[in-house]
Amino acid sequence: MDIHDTGPPDLERRFRDLFASTYVDLLRFVERRVHPSHAEDIVADAYLVAWRRLAEVPTDHDDARAWLVGVARRTVMSGVRGEQRRAALAVRVAEADATSAAVIDADLVVRRLDLARAWKQLSAVHQEALALAIWDGLDSPRAAAVLGISPVAYRLRLSRGRRALRAFAERLPTADPATSVVPSTRSTP
């Protein structure tokens, strides 16, 4: 036995396929949660876990992607404890740039600004539920598996998150792209 032994060819081939088909999605998942300078380190840790536990990685592509997302999520949280752990779940939102050349519809600009501000008032739990569905494209059973909850509980959480986001957005004063109103309330899971 040599310490430089690696896995058999079929394991290596499987890991290469897994890596190629999930890398961008996994990096994007992490980029929404941590500083960009740390994202690739988190992804590296997640793939190391996957390589070591390849037998446990589901063979279905979407299941495997959700499995990796779950590993990356736990890696993000592993360094924090207590109240900080809740904050670590928070998902960022892109800054809605009112001057973006790509956005020429004034009404759309205002709605994006409102939505971005409303997002920041959501609880981290609701942000996670929405992000998994809309940005990661996970269905309810897989998103629930990532969070370690039942699909029913996830759908409830998602529904409440949507409702809270809509309520926050509609409650905001008419958006002036140059101003920022930050109410003190946040949604509660």
Binding site: M1, D2, T6, R28, A44, L115, W135
Partner: protein
Amino acid sequence: MTTTTDLSDLLRTLDPARTSAPLDPAVGARAQALLDRTLALPVSGAGTPSPRRGRSPRRLVAAERSCAAEVRSMRVPDEMGPVDLSRMMPVLSDVRGPVVLVYLTDGVSELSCYVEDGQAGLAGSMTNVGARPTVVPRGSVRCSGGSITRTGIGMVRAVTGTVGDGVVSVVLDTVAQGPVTATVVDRHFAAWWPDEHVTDAAEDRAGPGDELRGVTVTLRDGSVRDVPVETLLGQ
């Protein structure tokens, strides 16, 4: 913004993730480097005697609970001074065949616990009580505990300890089994291996570190370095 579809469509335009396919060449090069160095590491069960995470999380959870209960019921000799056993938490668990090894620590002192058929037994002495936490240099590894115990698969040895920043893999060159891949979790490592040659007489003759010939660590950047046994033992 009245319908769920509207809300979802608008939110999609606010995705903060930057990376997209096809990858930017620089990101693509880093991804390829990550793939190469991950594949360069031994995969569990494929080449070296590697403690493996169990396929059944329930089994691990049950083992950790059994060990935590065992620790709480442990009697600490008065001469060791006050020890808060409730702070001893499992940080790493591994399955090999019928045996689960659970490594517990409160950040300073530590214990190894073996679970077979649901029965937990503590092994090794409670080390480092009252000591200050050890700071392990980046890229290095430090052994802080060891034990020998009889299990259903025979005598086994275990070593546990801490790794420094950047260490992603630890391979111990053992006298009994050759290369043994340790499990590294949250800066802790544990490795254990069968050693059928353990006898009281042999142990009496043995010096610190006689069961190991060396250690090889792999860093996150893919580089590999050898760590002398003396460094591993903090000598």
